[in-house]
Amino acid sequence: MIEAAAIATLGLFLLSPLAIALRGRASVSGLIYALSILPCLGLVGVGLMGLGDRHSSAMVLPVGLPWIGAHLRLDALTDFFLLVVGIGGAATSLYAIGYGRHEEEPGRVLPFYPGFLGAMALVVLADDAFTFLVAWEVMSLLSWALVMAHHREAEVRAAGLIYLIMAAFGTMALVLAFGLLAGSGGDYAFAAIRSLPRSMPVSIAVAFLVLVGAGSKAGVVPLHLWLPRAHPAAPSHVSALMSGVMTKVAIYAFLRVVFDLIGPLPWMVSPVLILTGVATAVLGIVNAAVADDMKKILAYSTIENVGVIFAAIGLAQAFRADDMPTAAALALSAALFHVFNHMAFKSLLFMSSGAVLTATGRRDLDGLGGLIRRMPVTSFLTLIGVVAISALPPLNGFASEWMVFQTVLQSPQLPQLGLEMLVPAAGGMLALAAALAAAAFVRFYGLGFLGRGRSAEASNAREVDRYMLAAMGGLAALCVLAGLVPALVLDRLAPVVEALTRSRLPVQSAEPWLTVVPVAVARSTYNPLLVCLFIAATASAAAWVVHRAGTRALRRAPAWDCGFPDPSPLTQYGAGSFAQPLRRVLGGVLLRAREEVEMPPPGATVPARHRVIQHDLIWEWAYLPLARGILKVATEANRLQFLTIRRYLAFVMGTLVSLLLVLSIWR
């Protein structure tokens, strides 16, 4: 098994030089993307088979550091995330066969794309810290190069710079974490790390460092700032990969270290995780609800979903530390299920925004509208993604969100009173985030796809090609399938959950009617399949009865609009107007949103102007002071460059003497 995975990964890496070798040929883009599909499907196969037969296999390659080599290993956790990487990668590559044709400078995307996929697979496969970190860094750098594909836009360059800084910072945290994990022995193989005993403070420090390192890649508040800039800046299929898959790889890193390598952790870690997750979810979705750029909305919503996943992981940690394996299994199943679902619907939505971008050249909501008539298939598939991401039954987003809520309701069994009270409050905040997500995506879909076109480009849009539609269709089908029959995914998850928590959910596919039963029938059940059937049956029955007993008559007429329809599409509700209620209610605190009106004096002929100003709180409170502080220290340190030789010698001697002093006191 592991050989197949290694070959697939290697194949992806080899496609990069191939892309360079073939540069300039007309068909290279289609070829490279088509060839990337195969290894991705291979990864899917490896993942599925691994989750089925529960074998773990390992291999050591004689590359990398001479005394370690590169360890690769397949276990349940790796299998699951290979599945995620494989599905996301295959769908994206299929999509890119169509989308890549519209790329202006394919030479800036093609060489990096397969390597990026390979690096993500390698992160998941790695079984020693060195390979892991190298793969992680390659993943970061290649994704950075992909973000910079359209480097001529100033906004993209700024995004790239911030991303690079944050990626370096995150990797630094991970290096420190693995350094602490390996201890003084310096054996970097995961097997050795796992068996090493370590003290509680060290474990806690490692958990915190990994939260920073992996969290910065996943977009956890307050390390999320790069994400809404970098994800939209990349070409859309890369955005889909970054949001849909790379954030999941970061979550893999967190799970691997915290639930596998560290060993036992105290419960005190969990409130930090839960609170971080909840803050991430709420802050992310409030931003999404007021952003004007389609891809920016999606990027912010990624932050929200990562927050939900981290909150669920925090719950799992709480239950694990308090020795409640059943509840921990439920929490972890919810988290992993959401990982899978988010991969599906977020990739789908980024693809559809890419389709809109291809068809209209725009991604600002105020320039779109009416696409449901111009691009019917894309619009329908997007609708599925939108319903899924808004956590609405019967699709998959709700199924995992529902399981998170079921986990929250397990909190009364926790022995710590403070935690017990925190968890329902956190659940309320997650519900707030879910409800806000619905608001944000009504806005997304209503402004982008419904109504009347707000620009000539939108009014003349044409449906995109079949590759893009096929990729989106596949992911939409996955959303529907995972939503209607959660048992399909949940039962695949069982070995992963069992490996990490030593417990698992009841076998879901054995339940009657494919009902989801997280704990017990008396406690909670949910049957999306039946609910969907009931709705479909009653809706068609109602339509039939009404058409039979009433009338089928229908007349087209101008819109009524309370009597004064204005033909200009600008009289519709726009992005700013739709966001105004939420901006006013929540934005005042969370975004420091203000509205300014510049009124010209009476008689002047200049137009009045209305502006909305909103800031990211974290940017203002954490990053700007930090930047100012660094600048100040740097300015101060600048003086050190203009000293005499004698002074420098004095510094050297002072340092030496103080070191000696420390040593003498220490001994």
Binding site: G369, G370, R373, V387, L392, P393, F398, W402, Q406, L409, L417, M421, P424, A425, G427, G428, M429, A431, L432, A435, A438, A439, V442, Y445, G446, L447, L450, G451, T515, A522, S524, T525, Y526, N527, L530, V531, F534, I535, A537, T538, A539, A542, V546, H547, A549, G550, T551, A553, R555, R556, A559, W560, D561, C562, P569, T571, Y573, A579, Q580, L582
Partner: protein, 319 residues
């Protein structure tokens, strides 16, 4: 045999809620009119309105898409299914396990989602106003509702509505709980907001700037409008039944009870509905509508009560 009875009772419940829903709306209107010293329309007026609407032709905006035409049926179906899953006169119905309380709330959320999208489909300013405000209210009301659900299901140890009702109803019952009181108040606030009643929204108004739900469905006519009105009535009935079965569970028949108990259950249910409708009418007649931006504060109270109820629950449980 038991299976057939189960299906029959479930079917009876579905038909019952559908048949009663417009009547409840009529009752509320009638009592409200009487309180304002108007004679008011007869209680059966909503039935007549619905029948008439169904027989009228649909006037559809020129650029309305398929989503606009499908939404009324979807919204109606989701509301009806949700209403049929709430215990009205009997618990432990045949299909009560298909969706728990959280899923029922989310099902209503799906209905609202599609209605809000339909409001934006024709591309008018009023539709946009309605959708935007509806979603703002929903983003406050849904977490409040969920916190209430948390409080209730932490008491009952289940989110399964039938189980919750049985635990609350007893024996042994759960005693007087201040948390339950808070959950009740919170649920009432959410119910008023969700159904667009005064003081949040005025179902009778056609003054553009004050309306929310009505603005959203402004472009609908004929049978589509009938479906939406019926769905709104079902939603009102759902919330009244929910409050009734959770907080005044007396008289509800249990699984396997004899037909007499079922008849008693239906009788008490009708009584509860009438009382709930009357209370709503009195409340609506005695209060003024709020400004739109006052509503978040109002819903914030529900959110706070739900949270407080959950917190206080731990006090009595920790002893």
């Amino acid at each position: 045999m038991a299976l057939i009875t189960g299906f029959a009772i479930q079917g009876l419940q579905m038909l019952l809620v559908l048949a009663l829903a417009p009547g409840l709306v009529g009752l509320v209107r009638r009592i409200k009119a009487r309180l304002m010293r108007r004679p008011g329309p007869p209680i059966r007026q909503p039935y007549r309105d619905l029948l008439r609407l169904m027989r009228k032709e649909v006037v559809l905006a020129e650029n309305a898409s398929w989503l606009f035409r499908a939404t009324p049926y979807l919204v109606f179906a989701a509301s009806w299914v949700a209403a049929a899953l709430v215990p009205t006169f009997a618990t432990g119905l045949q299909f009560s396990w298909t969706a728990d309380l959280i899923a029922i709330v989310a099902l209503l959320g799906s209905a609202r989602f599609f209605l809000a999208l339909a409001g934006m489909d024709v591309g008018t300013s009023f539709g946009g106003i309605g959708s935007s405000r509806e979603m703002m209210f929903a983003s406050m009301a849904e977490p409040a509702m969920l916190l209430t659900v948390f409080a209730l299901s932490l008491v009952a140890g289940s989110t399964q509505l039938s189980t919750v009702v049985q635990v609350l109803h007893g024996p042994p019952g759960v005693g007087l709980r201040v948390s339950l009181g808070m959950a009740l108040v919170s649920l009432v606030i959410v119910a008023i907001a969700e159904n667009g009643r005064i003081p949040v929204d005025n179902p009778a108004t056609h003054l553009e700037l004050t309306m929310v739900h009505e603005a959203m469905v402004l472009e609908y006519s004929g049978r589509h409008l009938a479906m939406i009105e019926l769905a709104a009535a079902l939603k009102l009935l759902l919330y009244v039944s929910l409050i009734a079965c959770l907080f005044v569970p007396w008289g509800i028949a249990r699984e396997g009870d004899p037909p007499v108990a079922l008849a008693l259950g239906i009788g008490t249910y009708l009584l509860k509905l009438a009382l709930g409708g009357a209370a709503l009418a009195v409340f609506e007649a005695s209060i003024a509508k709020m400004r739109v931006f006052r509503v978040p504060d109002y819903l914030g109270v529900a959110l706070m009560l739900g949270l407080l109820g959950t917190l206080l629950l731990f006090v009595s449980r920790a002893l």
